[in-house]
Assembly symmetry: C3
Homo-oligomer: 139 residues x 3
């Protein structure tokens, strides 16, 4: 069994945003030399997500609006978590809705994807440096 590990680094200039990271994950799969296996891609921080959906700007806008309704950033006093001095209580909830990780099949050395699947990094408490882990196992 082969294994391979890589970290991706992000530092978004905004609180909430989405970045297509499919190319970077595909490059890691090639670099790993794994032909048949699985790749785990997960946020290493608990106010960020990795998820798979469509790369369409209107959709990414809709996710932002919908998440803000579901768990508004303000008032900060809505969240007991913010009593610690943080202001990101909402971000922990948004990340939970969108998910921490994806697992993708590797077949014949490539991400085994449907026609529109793209991997995104979702940031809900940006303006700081964060990491995504890519871990590959297979043969």
């Amino acid at each position: 069994m082969k294994s391979f590990r890589k970290e991706l680094i992000f530092d978004l200039p905004v609180r909430m945003g989405f970045i297509n990271i499919t190319g970077e994950v595909a490059a890691a799969v090639r670099e790993s030399g794994v032909e048949e296996g699985m790749v785990l891609v997960n946020a290493m921080h608990i106010t960020a997500s990795v998820f798979i959906n469509d790369d369409e700007p209107g959709l990414l806008h809709d996710y932002g609006v919908w998440l803000e309704e579901l768990a508004p950033h303000e008032p900060l006093s809505n969240y007991h978590h913010n009593r610690t001095g943080e202001d990101n209580g909402d971000a922990h909830i948004k990340r939970q809705v969108m998910g921490r990780e994806v697992v993708v099949a590797i077949t014949q050395g490539r991400l085994d994807f449907g026609p529109w699947e793209q991997i995104f990094y979702g940031e809900f408490d940006g303006r700081r440096r964060k990491r995504v882990l890519v871990k590959i196992i297979g043969e």
Copy 2:
């Protein structure tokens, strides 16, 4: 390490619906010959889900009602995504809530499940042909 891949095909006659696919996944596990490992089951489309819960008709009804409240199909103008000419902005959100994939342990050649766990395909923009990927690795 062994690996095995299979696609399941669905074409639901309705916009939203749920199908128990446990039998088809269990058959793929048997066909793979893997005794110890993991099976990844994921929707290959971004308006559909694979998830695990109870096969009880009332519960599946409740999921439908709750998701429709959380991300209503109409008015279509609620979603910027629909400005592309699509009418499935809601379906992308519903799928995100229910999840893209499950990973299930394989132990002694079988799905390693609790007493009520069943695997479902969740469709949120049906009336078209869609695929689910079953990928198995192990020994």
Copy 3:
């Protein structure tokens, strides 16, 4: 390829609660002897979750309040599922939002985690004995 399997048992005295299980999962990883691989941790019951977030009491309180708003326990008649004689229709929905499982990378024999990642068992219909499955594959 090595594989390893362990069950963790929980019996919470309340309907809804969260327990940090990182130590037990880390112990299973050590016991497995796997240096490079993946660990799957999943609830074996469909009214419970396994998820990763921050071990901060205010945050866990916020999750409880937010989930209760999203899918209130009462009135029981809100859920068709409760017509079966159950009273846990809400718990099936809460578990779906928080997720069934996590997959974590194992690197150099340890959980490959970011600085604040902790694994939680989330109970939404407690006061009964339930199980979590830890399944490890790798080398």
